[in-house]
């Protein structure tokens, strides 16, 4: 038994060794897989740690802040550029963000989720506009945080950039909470329109409580060239037919600009991310408030009467 525990602890150590994770990465499958592995192993680890604790009588401190907060609330992590950082400014910014979150429910969402945003618009009829679309991109930190929704309306692709903390936003609904295979879905602009067409009257689909966020592994079919970007250079996983439109020269140039060594560049990774210790500090500051809001959201969810979801899009 002793050997097996050691083995387990070793493996756990190896998993934990990869501390820094890119702030905006929503590479869903890997995380999901990792989570699954963790959840599988958790009871076992707990047992083992309990046994070791009873032997050594060391109190084990359970990490309070969930590990997935950096994916649910990426905008709470500041820009990692060192020249722009200042602890007081970051603190004030977080306070303002929480103030805003007390006024409006900003739910968990990811790139690939289908959302509806109701916002106050002076030029719209009735001064209110509601836009349904798929979130194709999410970026920037702090009060600048924003996301892009895309939909095809009357055969015309429409994209709207929303700022998450803009006070003109009245309501943010997540109609279908899911992730896609890529970090940003700009290639939907060059895909066939049916892949970014969503019904305006779509109803919200409810996920089971505690269930992991599903990953939609749909492969998108691209239109023939010309494209807006050189998609063949971006190592996309959610595109089905990219090879169909490539010539040899495209493949060669794509190979030429690849930088496979960059994933081993620890300094680059360090500069592009917030270290885990700092992340913990930041989330410890805002955890109580965010957690309370989450609980409130759950309560509200239960109050809602169950309606069988309709598959529309």
């Amino acid at each position: 038994m002793n050997v097996s525990t050691r083995f387990l602890i070793n493996r756990l150590g190896k998993q934990c060794a990869f501390n820094r994770i890119v702030t905006y990465s929503t590479k869903s499958t890997e995380h999901a897989a990792a989570n699954a592995v963790e959840t599988e192993k958790e009871p076992k680890i707990k047992e083992t740690t309990a046994s070791t604790a009873s032997e050594a009588s060391i109190p084990i401190r359970k990490p309070v802040i969930p590990a997935n907060y950096r994916f649910i609330y990426p905008e709470f992590l500041p820009d990692p550029k060192i020249e722009w950082r200042n602890p007081i400014r970051e603190k004030l910014e977080r306070m303002d963000m929480l103030d805003r979150r007390r006024q409006i429910d900003l739910p968990e969402f990811y790139v690939g989720s289908i959302m509806a945003v109701t916002s106050s618009d002076p030029h719209a009829e009735g001064k209110v506009s509601r836009f349904v679309g798929i979130c194709i991109h999410r970026d920037r930190c702090g009060l600048r945080a924003r996301f892009i929704l895309r939909n095809v309306i009357d055969h015309q692709g429409i994209e709207v950039i929303y700022e998450l903390y803009d006070p003109t936003i009245q309501k943010v609904e997540v109609l279908r909470l899911e992730k896609r295979l890529d970090d940003s879905l700009f290639y939907l602009r060059d895909a066939l329109p049916e892949y970014s067409t969503f019904d305006e009257n779509m109803e919200a689909e409810q996920l089971e409580e505690g269930a992991p966020v599903p990953v939609n592994d749909i492969k998108v079919v691209l239109r023939p060239r010309p494209w807006l970007e050189r998609w063949e250079r971006q190592n996309l996983r959610g595109v089905a037919n990219i090879d169909q439109y490539l010539k040899d020269k495209h493949r060669q140039s794509a190979r030429r600009v690849q930088k496979p060594w960059e994933k081993y560049d620890l300094m680059k990774q360090y500069r592009a991310t917030i270290p885990e210790e700092e992340q913990n500090e930041i989330f410890a500051e805002v955890y109580a408030e965010l957690h309370a809001q989450e609980l409130q959201r759950k309560r509200n969810k239960r109050k809602r009467t169950f309606v069988k979801p309709k598959q529309l899009a």
């Binding site: 020249e83 200042n86 303002d96 103030d99 007390r102 106050s120």
Partner: protein
């Protein structure tokens, strides 16, 4: 040499003997040679060897001594009532409630700590810069009659203004020279990292030791911000002045980002002064005038100022003045408005009325 000898003779009282002597003066250069008269606070600041020769016991002793000496004065956020610290100068006694649109108040030293957006009540997004007033104290006051700098600043009626010396950012006094620490003797505050002088009207003079914080500025007022711009080093003409450069192809060789022509021929056949050419970019003192104070937060001594063009990098030091722009200046304000009541902890976050607070309910555009 000869002059020196003469002076020595005069000193000895032997001038009589040299009465008939002729002193040759070769040129008048020595008469109008500029005399360097630095302000009295321009002193060597840091010790050359900081504690290299002190033992650990001595270090403990020194630190203890420092703590004893500067115990009460080392309070960065002390909220003294501003009015009490106004100096009783002759001017203020003779005219206690004159309109002070002509008066100059003290400025402050601040640090640019970043920028982020705020929203107006009409839904418009604006960019704001956060300025933190770092531990400002009045160090000394020089009245107008005694203030005679070597180089007068380019200010109207400069002889009417006194000079307030303001320090910011506390530093460990054991690192500093004795004479630099002596500057702070009068005000009894901890020695400061940065010093700045501000011209003030005698009515607005403050007692040494007064702390200045963000309550010095009211929300809605306008300030001028002076700072040193970001240093970009030696840059070409495309980056420095936004020249277009030349095409990348079509037969262009070796002159894609170059200046091109710098002048004509004939009578004007020379490089005219002021021609834009490559050179050092940035690192110049610039004043951004007339920025509105939109929000102040007393607890952290931070103010939000409209715009994102405050000179200098994040973390850089800037100097704040009441604006000199005639239309944005405070029109009618008496000396009494210089005083600031103690502000409660509850209301230490003050917003401009035109801003939408994040605590307010979400904003809607109403039907008209």
């Amino acid at each position: 040499m000869l002059g020196g000898v003469v002076f020595k003779l005069r000193d000895l009282g032997l001038m009589k003997l040299t009465g008939s002597m002729v002193i040759h003066v070769r040129g008048k250069g020595h008469l109008n040679r500029p005399r360097i008269r630095n302000p009295h606070w321009f002193l060597r600041k840091k010790l050359s060897n900081i504690g290299e020769l002190t033992t650990s016991d001595n270090k403990v002793f020194i630190n203890q001594l420092v703590r004893e000496n500067y115990n009460e004065a080392d309070v960065s956020n002390n909220l003294k009532v501003y009015e009490q610290n106004l100096m009783k100068t002759e001017a203020s006694i003779s005219s206690p409630s004159i309109v002070i649109s002509q008066n100059r108040r003290c400025g402050t030293i601040a640090r640019k700590i970043g920028e982020y957006p705020l929203w107006l009540n009409n839904g418009e997004k604006i960019r704001t810069t956060l300025l933190q007033i770092i531990d400002n104290h009045i160090i000394s006051y020089i009245p107008p009659e005694k203030y005679s700098p070597a180089h007068y600043p380019n200010v109207k009626n400069v002889n009417k203004f006194g000079c307030l010396l303001v320090g910011a950012g506390t530093i460990n006094p054991t690192w500093l020279t004795k004479e630099y620490c002596g500057i702070f003797h009068e005000s009894r505050v901890m020695p400061k990292k940065m010093l700045a002088r501000f011209l003030v009207s005698p009515e607005a003079a403050l007692h040494p030791g007064t702390a200045l914080n963000v309550a010095h500025y009211r929300v809605g007022e306008f300030v001028d911000v002076r700072g040193k711009t970001i240093d970009y080093g030696f840059q070409g003409v495309v980056k420095r002045f936004g020249f277009k450069g030349m095409p990348a192809s079509h037969g262009v060789t070796k002159t894609h980002r170059r200046v091109g022509n710098i002048g004509g021929g004939g009578e004007k056949g020379r490089v005219w002064p002021g021609t834009k050419m490559p050179g050092r970019m940035g690192s110049r003192w610039r004043i951004n005038k007339g920025l509105q104070v939109l929000r102040t937060y007393l607890k952290y001594n931070v103010m939000w100022v409209q715009g994102s063009a405050v000179p200098g990098p994040t973390g850089g030091i800037v100097y704040l003045y009441d604006t000199i722009l005639p239309h944005r200046k405070k029109k009618i304000s008496s000396i009494a408005s210089l005083s600031y009541e103690n502000i409660d902890k509850v209301t230490d976050d003050i917003w401009s009325e035109k801003l939408h607070r994040f605590k307010d309910i979400r904003m809607t555009h109403k039907n008209e």
